[in-house]
């Protein structure tokens, strides 16, 4: 059950990166009636509304109860620099925020607490914090506060994992990180202004720059190593968001009161209670009004749909499931991926055939009740960078057989199973993760479908693997794994280098190609500050992946929130999901 939170941690992280996610809790159940026989190629991302429909006037002194759906308590590290689990992040969103707001494409806007400007050579970014942005104790939020966040994350005493490669691109950051300098030379502060100078231009700054400040005045007395365990972070956190923390019941609940001084205007609610609810009781709690807003997991979708007093909002999650082929190994010395000379799946017709052989439309409809749908690419469809012209590999067993015949994979000894091009026995080991009720039937289903086109696929070790063991298998480049099913949670930056580049340790397929290197580099080059250029580059890259099929993208997924009908102004869409000052209640 816990695995769910991994993928959640990942998709909700503010930093721009691609993150590891696990396939998670979904239950297999009967088929759904709706949208049968729909066109495979059409990616429908608007199956659910994203906004509440209640247009009523919010009442004075309203109170809202937010359900934090988790089977474990939140850890209570209430700061984005330090928190570890997604539950803590959800608490933080009520009382604190990043300085820059994002639009629905996760690109920074000037609507938030600060505005930004990029210099002509694209190497310098200047943030100007708005005048009325103040911490809850009345002190103004300044550039020094944001600088302090960088000083903390770059420090040797910092034990979190937020120091990333983009930060290292700031001038002087590495020197500071290695302890050779006391300051970061590329960061200049002037009151409410802060300027970052990068060693080289990278368009990812428009989606992935760290803009979450630390209240320096308040925190400077605490040594950096002790910050994460200090009461100032855990018990009396101060932010500049729409609500103030009034009281924390450790691990269970938080009481918030409105921050009347909020820079975007006074919140429409007087107070908010956030409490942890077990996934098994979410629907019941929504039904009887104990909760006003809560995430609804896929296994409760059918029940939640029936509730009269609850509106279901949905959006496409930043994640995709895929089936990957094993091409080689990771060379630790050279720090790059190396493909075998003769990989087992070297023939792309074989890989394409395996993609044509499986019916993901049916998997999404029947096993996931329509909450998952065929993936056309490895860039999720909620980005403008998703190549809308690409079609997912459609279920076509005849085509699969044709391709296999062409590639020389034919059945030479008439046992119903194809031998490889040299006439030798051809067995495929398939590794897949456990974790939900549907994991096993899903893996079996794929195996069955491959068998129908004459391929002999077996589950690795005859069983599914637990999350940690599974990734251990992949990391060790276990030669026994031929193909595997896994998922990636991706974050706000479209740059796929983190899991696709030649040097990426997380490139578990170990697939490399010069064209791939070239396109990935183009996607983060200075020219890519021109959006159309970047879109074109990523379109081309996705075509390459589609043609070469180093992985078969299988499914995209919806995530859902249940919202009581008395709630108004709630928008589930990315970038607006946490604008709690807009939310009110009408009863």
């Amino acid at each position: 059950m816990k695995i769910k939170s991994y993928s959640k941690v990942l998709s909700a992280l503010a930093i721009s990166s691609l993150l590891l996610a696990a396939c998670s809790n979904d239950t297999e159940k009967s088929s759904t009636k709706e949208k049968k026989g729909k066109d495979v190629e059409q990616v429908d991302t608007s199956k659910f509304p994203t906004k509440t429909t209640n247009q009523g006037e919010p009442i004075e002194g309203g109170h809202l109860t937010y359900g934090l759906v988790s089977d474990t308590p939140f850890e209570g590290i209430l700061n984005k620099v330090f928190y570890q689990g997604e539950p803590d992040n959800q608490v933080i969103t009520f009382f604190d925020e990043d300085l820059l707001d994002t639009d629905e494409n996760y690109v920074y806007t000037n609507e938030g607490a600060a505005s930004y400007e990029i210099s002509d050579d694209h190497k310098t970014v200047t943030l100007t914090i708005k005048d009325n942005v103040n911490w809850h104790d009345g002190k103004p939020v300044t550039g020094a506060d944001l600088e302090y966040a960088y000083l903390v994350m770059g420090s040797k005493d910092y034990k979190g994992v937020r120091y990333d490669e983009q930060m290292a691109l700031i001038e002087g950051m590495e020197e500071y990180h290695e302890g050779k300098a006391d300051k970061i030379s590329g960061i200049k502060v002037d009151g409410k202004k802060i300027t970052f100078t990068f060693k080289k231009a990278n368009p990812s700054v428009t989606t992935g720059l760290w803009t979450y400040p630390l209240h320096k005045e308040y925190l400077k007395d605490v040594p950096i190593a002790d910050l994460e365990s200090s009461d100032k972070i855990r018990k009396n956190p101060i932010g500049f968001g729409p609500f103030k923390v009034k009281k924390i019941v450790q691990g269970e609940a938080v009481e918030f009161e409105a921050n009347k001084d909020y820079y975007r205007g006074e919140p429409k609610l007087d107070s908010v209670t956030l409490k942890v609810v077990n996934p098994s009781v979410v629907v019941k709690s929504l039904e009887n009004g104990d909760l006003d807003v809560a995430e609804v997991l896929a296994e409760q979708y059918e029940q939640a749909k029936e509730l009269d007093n609850v509106e279901l909002l949905g959006k496409v999650e930043l994640a995709y499931t895929y089936i990957g082929f094993n091409f080689g190994h990771y060379d630790k010395e050279k720090e790059e991926n190396v493909m075998d000379e003769n990989p087992k799946f070297g023939d792309k017709r074989l890989r394409q055939a395996m993609a044509y052989a499986i019916n993901n439309e049916e998997v999404g409809e029947k096993m996931f009740k329509g909450l998952r749908f065929p993936a056309n690419s490895v860039i999720t469809p909620n980005f403008k960078y998703n190549n809308k012209d690409l079609k997912a590999y459609e279920y076509n067993p005849e085509k699969a057989k044709e391709l296999l015949d062409e590639a020389g994979f034919v059945d030479t000894n008439n046992d119903g199973i194809r031998e490889d091009a040299d006439g030798k026995e051809f067995k495929i080991n398939f590794a897949s993760m456990s974790g939900s009720d549907v994991s096993e039937p899903l893996a079996r289903y794929y195996i069955q479908q491959w068998e129908q086109v004459g391929l002999d696929v077996e589950l690795q070790d005859g069983r599914l693997h637990e999350f940690n063991s599974f990734y251990d298998l992949l990391k060790k480049d276990n030669d026994k794994v031929d193909i595997y099913q896994a998922a990636w949670g991706v974050a706000s930056d479209p740059d796929p280098s983190g899991i696709w580049s030649r040097s990426a340790e997380f490139n578990y397929t170990r697939w490399v190609s010069e064209k791939n290197d070239e396109l990935l580099a183009k996607g983060i080059s200075e020219e890519a500050f021109d959006d159309q250029y970047r879109i074109d580059t990523y379109n081309e890259w996705q075509e390459l992946i589609h043609e070469e099929v180093p992985v078969i993208p299988t499914l995209f997924r919806y995530q859902l929130a249940g919202v009581n009908e008395r709630v108004t102004g709630y928008d589930y869409l990315a970038g607006r999901q946490y604008q709690w000052h807009n939310v009110g209640v009408t009863k």
């Binding site: 691609l18 019941v249 942890v276 063991s469």
Partner: protein, 321 residues
């Protein structure tokens, strides 16, 4: 007596030592660590992750880690939880009291149910009263606790709305007030009752069988033939003897409750030790896992000692040398 207790306490040291080695090795044998499952951030330099691992000492061989851990543990320092970022003992302390209260209330409910029902069914064995009670016990044996707890939750927590459906306290009341105590108790009743209704069945059966056994013993027959009234026969002779094994079981019962609250705590979103243990295992928070196992191990050893002491105290036939 004191010698006996002292000896038992001394024997605990090698026992705990062995337990700690086993637990530590098993924890380390789990694939992954606190950094691997939680946040593999492909943008972060792998070197950066390695630096953190190095700093936390996760790259050292297990025996070095063990020695480091053990020498601190002896001094009561179980290290820092990577997930919670605070000393392990602080994390545990927060949860421990919740679990202890839950265990206590559960124990009270268990005996409140077991004693009268056990006596009734033992005294009037093979009547319809006994058959009803026995029927209930069998049902209790056969019902999985996680299903039963969910049913209780839906009936009393949601349908009837008599009790809160999760948590350990209402976040709106202030600590230290009377309302706070009431709210705490109110949150305890449903999980405690759910466990007790199931856990009580074995105790009922023990008691019933003891009473039936004792009813035909010679000393009871003697008492009857002396003309002791029936009610006195029961209260003086039969019950006293029948309670012996139940009392002896108390120690085990307590440790069982502390260690076995995983399911109940998860269902009722009750932040206790069981829930903490489960999440720490899946997040590979080794320091918390080992500390909890050591604590429950220690509690079990103490519980058995307690049981032996109680037994010798209530049963004059047993003398501890």
């Amino acid at each position: 007596m004191w010698k006996f207790i002292l000896r038992r306490l001394l024997v605990m040291i090698p026992q705990l030592f062995l337990l700690s080695i086993i637990v530590f090795m098993m924890a380390k044998a789990m694939p992954g660590d606190a950094l691997s499952g939680q946040e593999i951030n492909p943008r972060a330099n792998p070197a950066e992750l390695d630096r953190i691992r190095e700093e936390l000492g996760l790259n050292d061989p297990w025996y070095q880690q063990y020695i480091r851990w053990a020498s601190n543990a002896v001094q009561g320092d179980f290290g820092v939880s990577y997930t919670h970022k605070t000393p392990v003992m602080d994390v545990i302390e927060d949860r421990l009291w919740n679990t202890v209260f839950l265990a206590l209330v559960t124990l009270i409910f268990t005996y409140m149910l077991a004693i009268p029902l056990g006596i009734l069914s033992g005294r009037y064995n093979d009547t319809w009263v006994d058959k009803t009670v026995t029927g209930y016990s069998y049902l209790g044996f056969g019902t999985p606790i996680f299903i039963f707890a969910l049913i209780m939750l839906f009936v009393f927590g949601f349908a009837l709305d008599w009790f809160p459906s999760g948590g350990s306290v209402d976040s709106k009341v202030d600590e230290g007030t009377f309302a706070y105590v009431v709210s705490k108790i109110n949150h305890l009743i449903l999980p405690a009752l759910s466990t007790a209704l199931i856990a009580t069945t074995s105790t009922i059966q023990y008691l019933r069988n003891e009473i039936i056994d004792n009813k035909i013993k010679d000393f009871v027959r003697t008492a009857r033939s002396k003309g002791v009234p029936e009610s006195k026969v029961y209260s003086r002779h039969i019950l006293r003897n029948s309670f012996l094994p139940i009392a002896a079981f108390l120690g085990y019962e307590i440790t069982g409750l502390i260690g076995g609250a995983v399911i109940i705590e998860t269902i009722f979103s009750y932040p206790g030790l069981g829930q903490l243990f489960l999440s720490s295992v899946s997040l590979r928070d080794f320091s918390v896992v080992t500390a909890i196992v050591m604590m429950t191990g220690f509690a079990t050893l103490l519980g058995t000692l307690l049981s032996d002491i109680i037994l010798s105290a209530v049963d004059p036939r047993i003398r501890i040398e």
